[in-house]
């Protein structure tokens, strides 16, 4: 399985990748994207099986990336990993077609809770 991790913070991308490993998802290919536009391009070129994306990013936000993916017909599973975990943001994420929203800060247990049904 290939997982695309999109976050404008390199440090946070490392933390997300480390937490994936700690949660037991350590035998998957990881591709990194540094903003929403990069993520959108890599959804086409890398063909990931899952996208884990920050919400607030320069150039293109995670939400804009998700909307562009769905508008282009891509049904790749998409989840947010963001510091914005309010009910309002969760509702927006779900309405746009996100499978889940993991709020920062997160733990490996949070990842397991949301990803066990998504990652084989």
């Amino acid at each position: 399985m290939k997982i695309l991790v999109a976050d404008d913070s390199r440090v946070m991308r490392q933390i997300v990748i480390r937490t994936l490993r700690q949660a037991g998802y350590d035998d998957h290919d990881i591709v990194e994207a540094e903003d929403g536009a990069d993520a959108l391009a890599k959804v086409s070129s890398e063909k990931p099986d899952l996208v884990l994306s920050d919400w607030n990013m320069p150039n293109m936000s995670g939400m804009e990336c998700l909307q562009a993916m769905r508008a282009s017909g891509s049904a790749v599973p998409f989840g947010f990993v963001t510091s914005e975990g309010s009910p309002e943001m969760r509702e927006k994420a779900a309405s746009a077609g996100a499978l889940f929203l993991i709020a920062k800060p997160f733990t490996e247990d949070t990842f397991k809770e949301h990803l066990d049904g998504v990652i084989a």
């Binding site: 913070s9 440090v11 490392q14 933390i15 920062k104």
Partner: protein
Amino acid sequence: MTGSVTDTGDRRRTSDAPLLITELIDEETVQSIAQEAWSALIGDDEFLVPLPGGLPDDAVSSWVEIVGAWSGSVVLTCGRSTAEQLARCLLAEHAPPVLDAEDVQDALGELANVVGGNVKAVLPGHSVLGLPEVGSAPEPGPDALRVDLLWRGQSLTITAQGSAGAPTARTNNQYENEVPL
């Protein structure tokens, strides 16, 4: 006069007066948000102790802006050495022997982002969160809630400060030119 309404001023206060951060959130909530971030991102055994210390002269800040019913910034400030230690903790095994300034700024900005995002979540109404910035934050005005903390015996502060009347922050580039991390 029957049916008359006494003008208590409440309507004016609720419609005109800006919301003050101290009416919306307290120090304990900010500390709790920060502690959760530290436990999850820095380490299970990393504790923030609510004691005032003294910030060193080379203190650096990172912040995120919140725009909404209350508008302002959530600012994290600590010494340069503390910022580097925080970056090493966040990067863990990926931390190089010599840290890049960019990684330290990235780490400090992401901590402000996580704390600020969770502060935003408890504020009333719809708000928008900005991208993290690093540099020399504006001095807080009267609308400010400051929490003094110690991490590994080193001082850091988290301040939620209203933007109304606040001086302009020095930008990241200005900071980099002046005191590179």
